[in-house]
């Protein structure tokens, strides 16, 4: 009768998620539209400090709707939601000229390109993941690589980096946020960050 090793979790690529229809749809259909959504919001909203809140508001509305019923077409749904939210904000704040939110249709039409074949997509995904890692601040990148690729525990990462576990925690959470911003927020055709 032997106990399994304590470090049983280490060293393995592993993905964990809790699954529901709405969550899967959101991750598979909505998140990939983030760069388009961000471009749309940025183009139509002056106050850059509010962009993140607007994006979140769009996501919340879209996700709430999906929990009731999955919209048939994600892209027009997301962009229409964004437009409505911007219009409401304009009405409330009387700041931004309302014609600023009019270019929705041109934006929506551009995005339904035929999908490239799988091998290309797989290569593209890897390249993009690598790029996302490269864009992380050095200490965050170090921690993320040790966690996600080498599968080390937080304690081991702390020991290797010569810092405390709280610091590792901070590097990892910063890394997670930056990864999401890059993987979803950056337009796919932008090769370099400004």
């Amino acid at each position: 009768m032997t106990e399994p090793p304590e470090n049983g979790r280490e060293g393995r690529a592993h993905a964990t998620m809790t699954v529901s229809e709405a969550r899967i749809w959101f991750v598979a259909e909505v998140l990939p539209l983030e760069s388009v959504l961000m471009q749309y919001i940025q183009r139509n909203w002056r106050n850059q400090s509010e962009i993140a809140d607007i994006r979140q508001e769009v996501y919340v509305r879209v996700y709430e709707a999906a929990q009731r019923e999955i919209p048939e077409h994600a892209k027009p749904f997301v962009l229409t939601t964004a437009r409505n939210i911007l219009i409401n904000r304009v009405r409330r704040e009387h700041v931004v000229p309302i014609e600023a939110v009019a270019d929705l249709e041109s934006l929506g039409a551009a995005a339904d390109e035929p999908s490239p074949d799988r091998a290309v997509m797989a290569r593209e995904e890897l390249r993009r993941l690598q790029m996302a890692l490269d864009h992380l601040p050095p200490r965050s990148r170090e921690a993320v690589v040790m966690k996600q690729i080498e599968g080390l525990s937080r304690r081991d990462i702390a020991a290797r980096m010569g810092v405390g576990e709280e610091t590792v925690k901070r590097h990892l959470t910063n890394g997670m946020r930056a990864l999401a911003d890059f993987l979803y927020g950056e337009p796919t055709d932008l090769r370099k960050k400004p």
Binding site: T2, I24, E57, V60, Y63, N88, M176, R177, L183
Partner: protein
């Protein structure tokens, strides 16, 4: 200050909290309690849910880097961890005798003389008048003895969870193929596949011995023990009770995986669905996945493997094919 800002928490704060949850799940000992806490936080506000899903999805995508940079994937976690200790080599029958005491009365089953069957994907809970409970998992057939003084059921196929009230005078007997499981008051799972019988003990203690008329070899099962009996050998493996509890997700309609290989997860799902999943590339069979999935939605699981592991998922007629 817009109205929306009064309704929704600050986006950046929600995202920071979401990152902290995700970091905790990736790094800490993650228990069912932690998972419940996370679910409660997610349920508090859709803003929490979307922030978490977004970070989780990006984070999961990076596991792909690891999978591809390390082609030497480890063998199945479970296969590795469980050092099998063969305790018995028995020709045929097996008896499990548990030792927990609750004073009890003679059992008269609710439904006497009956067969209970579940279809693929089905589930059924039975309450016995003595307070015992039996829950049948997918594709299971269980028969009950009619009102004799003996408490006896036959698990003809499938899997069932038993939560049995002890009655020293009337031991509870589960017949499984050629094997015989006798329980005296504990919680356990019995699963039959072909001639393989698996008994997992969750609470109490149990005795396992040969039942060829003259029991000769005995092992005491304690919580966490998993006994596997085939036609010619029996072994006992120790697993954390928490892990065994994960195997009971089906009682509430979910399958719970933790560092489970894709091959194992698919085999589990295929028990619950007529539409079967096929893994086309052997290389991906050992990729690992974790999480909580509705057991009745095999397509959703397929899409989850696409999102979490970047695999290609395609529906071909009555099968779902997963490939690199």
């Amino acid at each position: 200050m817009s109205a929306a800002e009064h309704i929704l928490p600050d986006a950046s704060a929600a995202e920071q909290r979401a990152a902290e949850w995700l970091e905790r799940r990736a790094c800490d000992d993650w228990s069912e309690t932690s998972a419940a806490e996370l679910e409660a936080w997610l349920a508090q506000s859709p803003a929490h849910a979307v922030a978490f899903m977004r970070l989780e999805a990006a984070w999961n995508r990076t596991t792909r880097l690891a999978a591809l940079q390390k082609p030497m994937r480890r063998a199945s976690a479970k296969g590795e961890q469980s050092s099998r200790v063969p305790v018995l080599k028995i020709a045929a029958a097996v008896v499990v005798t548990a030792a927990v005491s609750v004073g009890g009365s003679l059992l008269a089953l609710h439904q006497e003389n009956q067969t209970f069957a579940t279809t693929i994907g089905g589930r059924e809970a039975l309450s016995l008048v003595d307070g015992s409970k039996i829950e049948l998992n997918t594709d299971t057939v269980l028969r009950m003895a009619e009102g004799s003084s003996q408490r006896k059921v036959w698990l003809d196929k499938g899997e069932a969870y038993f939560d049995i009230k002890h009655d020293a005078a009337h031991p509870f007997v589960v017949m499984v193929g050629n094997h015989r499981v006798t329980d005296l008051g504990t919680k356990f799972i019995v699963r039959q596949e072909g001639d393989r019988v698996e008994v997992k003990l969750l609470e109490g203690s149990a005795r396992l011995d040969a039942n060829d008329g003259a029991p000769s070899q005995t092992a005491v099962l304690t919580p966490g023990d998993v006994a596997i009996a085939t036609a010619n050998a029996t072994s006992v493996t120790k697993r954390p009770v928490k892990e065994l509890a994960n195997d009971l997700g089906w009682r509430r309609g979910v399958l719970m995986f933790d560092h489970t290989t894709l091959a194992e997860a698919v085999a589990e799902f295929n028990r619950y669905s007529r539409q079967k999943i096929v893994i086309a590339d052997p290389q991906i069979a050992k990729l690992e996945i974790g999480g909580t999935f509705p057991s009745d939605d095999v397509k959703l699981f397929g899409r989850a493997t696409h999102i979490a592991l970047g695999l290609h998922v395609e529906e071909r007629g009555s099968t779902i094919v997963i490939s690199q």
